[in-house]
């Protein structure tokens, strides 16, 4: 696992941006230039534009279908331009398909899970990166090993546990199993190993600060950029998580992905209503990607196994 590496500052995505290398020091410039001596030719641009179109088109078409009415969607050739009914369809989806409740539920679930993941990941990541204790490496290996365990396999006992706790159909049943994330812990450990100088922690010790105080006033300010990345990526995952919420929640109290299955299960399939629901459920994440796309991209790249 020594091949894992992480740039010291994930809040500086510019270091992966080749178009403005002049901002960085000579060493960085050299590396940027040497790693990619070739400029993209016309063919590369054509292929990448094709890739972008294929990536974005299904979502664009979701919007098109959500903005027309049911009869227009079911005609050939299919519509390619938006119609006039977008907002009325979105409003219908919000009311009729329990999407309103689902959006609120998903915001709570994803928000709580992301906050708790960030907090515990920072706590554990700090310990793994900067504190000395027996069994540290073994425990870190265990954390990494847990990534290989698919949560779906334990779903039957988990369901029994939740009904015993009286949490069936309740949001805590979805929240509690995902309060922590191994990826988050590992990501934060990599980040803090490089971003947090040992001297800073030692100085805190000499001043007589206890570990929690060091965590609070020295580690947290340094960890903030990585915390933002973990928050966003966890939020996306929690918002989109499907299998377990589908098992344990029902239509009276769903999250967004659960409510979306109900949309398509009706006897009369109102296609534009279905698409309006799908669009509604995706909008919050799309908005996040448009605003923080740069940070999310650099966060995912920074957390990658390299080598």
């Amino acid at each position: 696992m020594t091949t894992h590496s992480l740039p010291a500052r994930t809040d500086a995505p510019a270091r992966t941006e080749p178009e403005k290398p002049a901002r960085h020091g000579g060493r960085r410039l050299l590396r940027e230039r040497a790693g990619r001596t070739h400029h993209a030719g016309p063919l590369a641009y054509i292929l990448l534009v094709l890739m972008a179109v294929l990536s974005i088109f299904p979502l664009y078409w979701t919007m098109v279908a959500a903005s027309t009415d049911n009869t227009r969607v079911s005609q050939t050739p299919p519509p390619f331009l938006p119609g006039p009914n977008l907002f009325s369809n979105l409003a219908r989806a919000w009311d009729e398909a329990a999407m309103g409740k689902a959006m609120i539920n998903s915001t709570i679930v994803a928000g709580v899970i992301a906050l708790s993941t960030v907090f515990f990941a920072t706590l554990a990541g700090f310990a793994f990166a900067k504190l000395r204790f027996k069994g540290r490496n073994v425990l870190l290996m265990l954390v990494i090993g847990t990534m290989m365990v698919p949560p779906q396999l334990g779903v039957v006992p988990l369901f029994m546990m939740m009904s015993e706790l009286g949490w069936s159909q309740q949001l805590p049943a979805v929240i509690f199993p995902t309060l922590v994330s191994a990826v988050g812990v590992f990501f934060m450990r990599q980040y803090l190993s490089e971003a947090l100088p040992d001297e800073l922690v030692e100085a805190g010790r000499v001043d007589g600060a206890h570990s929690l105080r060091i965590f609070w006033s020295i580690v947290l300010p340094v960890a903030r950029p990585a915390m933002a990345v973990i928050f966003m990526i966890t939020f996306v995952h929690a918002w989109n998580d499907f299998f377990w919420p589908f098992v344990v929640l029902d239509m009276t109290n769903p999250t967004v992905p659960v409510a979306l299955t109900q949309l398509s299960a009706g006897y009369v399939r109102d296609q534009s209503l279905i698409m309006a629901g799908a669009l509604l459920g995706t909008l919050p994440l799309l908005a996040m990607f448009i605003v923080f796309g740069r940070q999310i991209v650099s966060g995912i790249m920074a957390g990658a196994v390299k080598g």
């Binding site: 400029h39 294929l54 990536s55 979502l59 793994f128 006992p157 009904s163 989109n240 098992v247 299955t261």
Partner: protein, 331 residues
């Protein structure tokens, strides 16, 4: 550090017992003791929440699954467990739906994973060029990743619709007869794989890109001095240079493929789609697990399917190991 504090304390100790001195000494000792406790104990306290939550909600259920699979348990009466030993496994072995689901999981897994990772490799290579708007292309490649299984599957269900779907319309323009994407086995599996490929290709491409950027430049320089063409550089420098990333993505995709659930469920039209089509033509092990537990109310059998999925995963990794060993022996 803890010991040096104790020594300092001992040295400073005033001679002769006095009431006041006694009090400070106890409090100092307590301070030192607390400090040592903090230095020794805090790291464990900091990593504990992760392990507690994982043990309670992941590890314990995983182990308990095997115990449940040896019982008959009904969904309505979860506390009544009747010991049946290996009956569930014997029944599963003789159940044609299990073999069907296993086969579908493997075929959909291959159709969705292989093109996905190859395309991701190509896209990463393109993104690695120096170019304009590189941030736009990176974010664009990640847009499907932001779309939930639900929304993605719903859109693709419509795009692959038999009568008015866009794909069949497009095929009609070039003179191909409409394909029944839902009812026919292989078209359905291709359509479901398309959803998986669409959602995960860009994400994998970014992982590859990150690894490509970490390859030392002198390897390319050496290769081009040796007269290697761009394709040769890609094959002999880039791909070996990101080998562990490739292994990592293969592992993750394999895990994802054995667990496939949402895409076939919603492609088969909502909560009624657990059978994976009228003839189970695209029922995966994930769907079978759900059907046994929450449609047929047989939690014991559901747990047995979960164990079968786990074994499949283990076998997949053993197979990968073997292939790797054979390849390294032949080359």
């Amino acid at each position: 550090m803890a010991t040096s504090t104790t020594k300092a304390l001992a040295g400073e100790e005033p001679p002769g017992p006095s009431r006041a001195g006694d009090g400070t000494e106890t409090s100092r000792r307590r301070g030192a003791w607390l400090h040592r406790l903090d230095v020794k104990g805090a790291p464990y306290a900091f990593v504990a929440p992760f392990f507690v939550v994982f043990a309670a909600f992941s590890f314990y259920p995983l182990i308990y699954t095997s115990w449940i699979s040896l019982h008959d348990v009904e969904l309505a009466t979860l506390d009544v467990m009747e010991w049946v030993a290996f009956d569930n496994y014997v029944e599963l072995w003789g159940d044609s739906r299990f073999w069907n689901a296993l086969q579908n999981t493997i075929t959909i897994g291959i159709i969705s994973t292989v093109p996905q990772l190859l395309m991701a490799l190509g896209i990463a290579h393109l993104l690695n060029y120096r170019m304009r708007a590189s941030l736009f292309f990176r974010v664009a490649s990640l847009v499907p990743y932001a779309t939930s299984v639900g929304a993605a599957a719903l859109v693709f269900t419509m795009i692959f619709e038999r009568d008015f779907g866009m794909i069949n319309w497009g095929l009609g323009l070039v003179g191909v007869d409409p394909v029944n994407w839902e009812a026919d086995k292989w078209p359905a599996q291709v359509a479901i794989s398309t959803i998986v490929i669409w959602r995960w290709t860009g994400y994998n491409a970014l992982l590859y890109l990150a690894a490509m950027q970490a390859i030392p430049a002198d390897r390319y320089e050496a290769a081009s001095l040796d007269g290697a063409s761009r394709w040769q550089q890609f094959r002999h420098v880039t791909v070996p240079g990101i080998r562990s990333t490739i292994v990592f993505t293969i592992v993750l995709s394999t895990i994802g493929a054995t667990q496939l659930f949402g895409e076939p469920l919603i492609f088969g039209q909502g909560p009624n789609g657990v059978t994976g089509g009228a003839n189970n033509q695209y029922q995966t092990l994930g769907l079978l697990l759900y059907e046994e537990g929450w449609k047929n109310y047989q939690m014991g059998r559901s747990a047995t399917v979960a164990w079968a999925m786990f074994m499949l995963l283990v076998l997949a990794f053993v197979a990968q190991r073997l292939i790797k060993r054979l390849r390294s022996r032949t080359s």
